[in-house]
């Protein structure tokens, strides 16, 4: 290899990026301020900056491949035994590198957006480039002054690196973070378009059209990233679940919620030229949430299993977020007169109003997640007391909100734009409601026999009325959820059928009508397919209500029974590769008749660089009806006796299937139409080009395909890993409820409740609590003494009194206030809308009537295209 001072060269390239991006930003701003001849210069400057970021990434990737341990980041996140693919994944495995990776993805988006903008939106273009460069500058400043991935050791260079965290050494690591980053970073482009629109005052539908494709791409990647995160959690963290409401999971969920609200709300602006301020606010908030989420992950302010080490880059983020807030607010206030709506809502029974309600639920969910995520920090700041908000709190509040959202996904398609006639809406709702009721009745009649009872046992998170209400809401949640799923599926199915019938009346066959329907209305029907994907995911989420788990110690040849399965422990075996030793335990899954139904091999991996952190590899046998999830907790090499925890997780596979359907729907809805492709070609007649937008969509498809393939592959290998897996025995519902409220205080797993944590400390504590219960102590007394002994942070859910009550009272109050406001405004808009409509119709009678025939011709052409 050539002798090159890689650390110095890497830092030099970062400096060059900063200079180039600053120069480009200045030139772009000049172009936007009355010097349009500077625009081509700004475009070339953008390309130069993007190329330099690619150089920096290649230099770091090279340093990993040649084990240049002079670089601190390389030494901390790799070692000589790691294969080349993990050396590439190490690029984003730690904080400093992930910032460079962020900059790299941003430059990729910037490159494609600049290519796409060529010949389009000339007035917006300079400000789009300037905004994108400003975001890049922030990340480069962060790297140069706080987290340089090329920083070297001051003293001696280590002979070998520390190696990548064993948890990150798996295939999900190769695709989950990049996909999530693609989602996060992707919102920069629509945000830049929005800022350009605000600065130039071009606030009609132009910016909405320009931002449409890019928002869809960002949303699709963010959804994919979240889904892959669930898979990673399910297969890697090995605690048996896919979503733990960890602060970093929440950080990526927040922009998804706001982004989803924006994607629905912006349809109202496109169709009705309304809600301009609201859409500007939502898009700006989505981008802000991506930065806020990154701040949560990077600053280390809030404890999380994902977060990087506590560092001082948090203060840079605080300044940047402050700048964003002030800047965006100032721009919106300045442009308020230009953000006035052209139309008003004409009826409360309209698609517009259904979308408003959808926004209300999504933002309500965002409020819950935001407040609960930051509550520990707020509590510490306000009253100096550390608290923890565990998954129980989120699950209790988010389930009912999620079901309302799901219901709206089914209601929306049934309601017409502008105003729906009451009788027609009632007729349209008949079949979907019938389907929902039928499913509920069937579940009440046969559910329990099939293992899916309509109502499950209620568990309380508070010993107050709120706790009782929430407990009953979650007890009936399964039947309500399944009924709502049926309602939405019937509603979407009916919409497809009605559309097909309209086309069939024009003489088309069913197949042709279906293809024509989807291809002529990609956004609408792609959106419906997304809703179907969400329904499948909800079916999977609902399955969590029927989880069964059991733990047993077995000798080879012995069996344990759980649900309708018997699991036989066959034998242990050991394998090794240069990186680790692997202890497998071969097991066979049998049915009630004793027939073999597959083999699984849960294991322990002991990595050479992290012998103190053996990972537990769970084994999953996945079927549409249920997953059999097997964890090997311990195995004694001398007696070969092993301890195993088996969890039956019904319907989980539907989540992954729903995710694939959702991605398919998203791709259909953003696929360019023939007219759009034609226009792209007409804009560049000289050479045939591969459209940048098409390239990004192709990338989304490639990642989705890869995800499906990896999913299949992982199902075949039936194995993954965990650091947290363990064994917990729960004897009765009282224990489950109490253990679920108390957090382990061993120091290593502070966020795990006693009903999950398998460490020795938690084991001892459970024995102690059982003795107290047997002695007749009330669960509330035990909880209070636990709190008195270990502090408020030892409870999984803060109490339902005093300031703690703000945790749910603030979001609930905001939602009540918001729904009142929406209805009030809706009624006002409705009155004004009717007046405006009458005036517009009158004015139309004097319009240019000679254009009628041309209009008909254009409509015919549109139908044929």
């Amino acid at each position: 290899m050539p002798a090159l001072d890689i650390p110095f060269f890497g830092t030099l390239v970062l400096c060059l990026i900063l200079i180039s991006a600053s120069y480009t930003m200045a030139v772009a701003m000049g172009a936007g301020q009355g010097r349009p001849h500077l625009l081509p210069s700004a475009r070339w400057g953008t390309y130069a900056t993007c190329a330099l970021v690619l150089v920096a990434v290649c230099v770091l990737a090279y340093a990993f491949q040649v084990h240049d341990f002079r670089i601190r980041y390389v030494a901390r996140y790799s070692d000589r035994s790691m294969p080349w693919w993990y050396l590439i994944a190490s690029l984003w495995g730690g904080q400093d590198g992930s910032l460079l990776w962020w900059a790299f993805l941003l430059s990729g988006y910037t490159f494609f957006a600049t290519r796409w903008l060529r010949g389009r939106y000339t007035e917006l273009q300079p400000w789009v480039l300037a905004t994108l460069m400003s975001i890049l500058i922030f990340f480069v400043v962060l790297m140069l002054f706080a987290a340089n991935p090329f920083a070297t050791y001051i003293r001696t260079t280590p002979g070998d690196g520390e190696g990548l965290n064993p948890l990150l050494q798996n295939y999900w690591m190769a695709i989950h973070p990049p996909s999530l980053y693609m989602g996060f970073v992707g919102w920069s482009v629509p945000f830049a378009i929005l800022i350009a629109a605000l600065i130039t005052g071009r606030l009609g539908n132009e910016w909405v059209r320009a931002a449409r494709l890019w928002s869809m791409i960002a949303w699709t990647f963010l959804s994919l990233g979240l889904l892959l995160g669930c898979l990673w959690s399910y297969e890697e963290l090995g605690w048996g679940g896919y979503w733990a409401w960890d602060p970093v999971e929440n950080a990526s969920f927040l922009p998804w919620l706001v982004g989803t609200a924006y994607l629905h709300s912006v349809l109202i602006q496109e169709r009705r030229h309304m809600m301009r301020v609201w859409n500007v606010f939502l898009l700006a908030l989505t981008f802000f949430m991506t930065i806020f989420g990154t701040f949560l992950t990077r600053s280390g302010l809030i404890a999380s299993v994902h977060s990087f080490a506590r560092s001082d880059i948090g203060q840079y983020f605080v300044w940047y977020m402050g700048f964003l807030l002030i800047g965006i607010a100032a721009l919106i206030v300045w442009r308020l007169p230009k953000l006035k709506a052209d139309n008003e809502i004409e009826s409360l029974v309209s698609r517009e109003f259904a979308f408003l309600l959808n926004n209300w639920v999504l933002l309500g969910m965002m409020m819950f997640v935001l407040i609960a995520t930051t509550f520990p920090l707020l509590s510490e700041l306000v009253r100096g007391e550390e608290v923890t908000v565990g998954p129980g709190f989120y699950n209790k509040w988010m389930v009912p909100l999620g079901i309302v959202l799901l219901f709206l996904a089914g209601l929306g398609p049934l309601v017409a734009w502008r105003k729906a006639t009451g009788s027609k809406l009632a007729r349209a709702m008949l079949f979907p409601i019938g389907a929902g009721v039928a499913v509920a009745v069937l579940q009440f009649l046969f559910g329990a026999r099939l293992g899916y009872p309509a109502i499950v046992e209620p568990t309380e998170i508070y010993d107050t009325t709120t706790g009782t209400v929430l407990a009953w809401m979650s007890a009936v949640a399964p039947v309500v959820s399944f009924a709502t799923c049926a309602f939405v599926l019937a509603s979407v199915g009916q919409e497809f059928w009605r559309g097909i019938q309209v086309r069939m009346r024009k003489g088309q066959g069913v197949g042709t009508a279906l293809v024509g329907l989807v291809s002529k209305g990609r956004r609408r029907y792609g959106g419906y397919i997304v809703h179907v994907g969400v329904v499948f995911m909800f079916i999977g989420f609902t399955g969590a209500a029927y989880d069964v788990e059991q733990e047993n110690a077995l000798r080879p040849g012995e069996t344990m029974s759980i649900g309708q399965h018997t699991v036989r422990y066959d034998q242990p075996r050991m394998e090794a590769d240069p990186n680790k030793r692997m202890i497998f335990t071969d097991m066979t899954i049998l049915d009630e008749a004793g027939n073999e139904h597959g083999q699984v091999a849960p294991a322990k991996f002991i990595y050479r660089t992290h012998p103190q952190m053996p990972t537990t590899e769970v084994a999953i046998r996945s079927r549409p009806a249920e997953d059999v999830y097997v964890i090997m907790s311990t195995v004694d090499p001398s007696t070969r006796r092993g301890t195993f925890r088996v969890i039956i997780r019904p319907l989980v596979a539907w989540i992954w299937f729903g995710g694939i359907v959702l991605l398919l729907g998203a791709i259909i809805s953003m696929w360019p139409t023939g007219r759009e492709l034609l226009r792209e070609e007409l804009a560049r007649p000289r050479r045939l080009r591969f459209s940048p937008a098409t390239a990004v969509i192709a990338l989304a498809i490639a990642v989705a395909t890869m995800m499906a393939w990896v999913g299949v592959a992982s199902a075949q290998t039936d194995s993954s890993s965990s650091l947290h897996a363990g064994s917990v025995v729960i004897n009765d519902p009282v224990e489950r409820q109490l253990f679920g409220r108390l957090l382990c205080q061993c120091g290593d797993c502070a966020r795990l409740p006693l009903d999950t944590c398998a460490c020795g400390w938690a084991d001892d504590k459970r024995v102690e609590i059982r003795e107290a219960l047997a002695a007749g102590e009330e669960p509330t007394q035990i909880q209070e003494s636990y709190r008195a002994q270990y502090g408020a942070k030892s409870l999984a859910i803060p109490s339902d009194k005093g300031l703690d009550r703000a945790l749910w009272a603030v979001p609930v109050a905001s939602m009540v206030f918001a729904v009142g406001f929406i209805v009030l405004m809706g009624r006002r808009w409705q009155r004004r809308g009717v007046e405006a409509h009458t005036a517009a119709t009158a004015a139309a009678s004097n319009a240019e009537l000679q254009y009628d025939s041309r209009l008909d011709e254009e409509l015919e052409r549109l139908e044929e295209s």
Binding site: L39, R43, W44, T49, W84, A420, L862
Partner: protein, 121 residues
């Protein structure tokens, strides 16, 4: 693969560095030239027209959707007539604006051609 990858990264980095420097040079050359780009000016005119065309297409789409919803029995005949007429009035207005702007667009195009021919001469 592990022997090949370092070289691959060196080659990609070198190519990107060359491309970056060339782009930067082009950018600086364009920034410091006094020439007012006719193409950019023309683009502004095209943009205004393109915005109108996009507006027209959005309205056509909306008219088609309303008609589809009526055919699918989602909105009543009376509501359909009201909505359809309102949308058609807006679309007629846009078509009129497009026709009115066609003259300016043509003049701009002719001016551009004349300018380019003069430059080449």
């Amino acid at each position: 693969m592990s022997d090949f990858l370092p070289w691959l990264f060196i080659v990609v980095a070198s190519l990107a560095m060359v491309a970056g420097l060339i782009s930067l040079w082009l950018s600086l050359t364009l920034a410091f030239s006094d020439e007012v780009m006719g193409g950019v000016r023309a683009q502004l005119t095209t943009d205004a027209r393109r915005a109108l065309i996009a507006e027209k297409e959005a309205l056509l789409q909306e008219i088609r959707d309303v008609s589809f919803e009526h055919d699918a029995d989602k909105i009543s005949d009376t509501d359909f007539e009201e909505l359809n007429e309102k949308l058609r009035a807006q679309a007629r207005h846009v078509l009129h604006a497009l026709d009115a702007g066609a003259e300016t667009f043509r003049n701009e195009a002719e001016a551009q051609i004349a300018e380019r021919l003069a430059d080449e001469a």
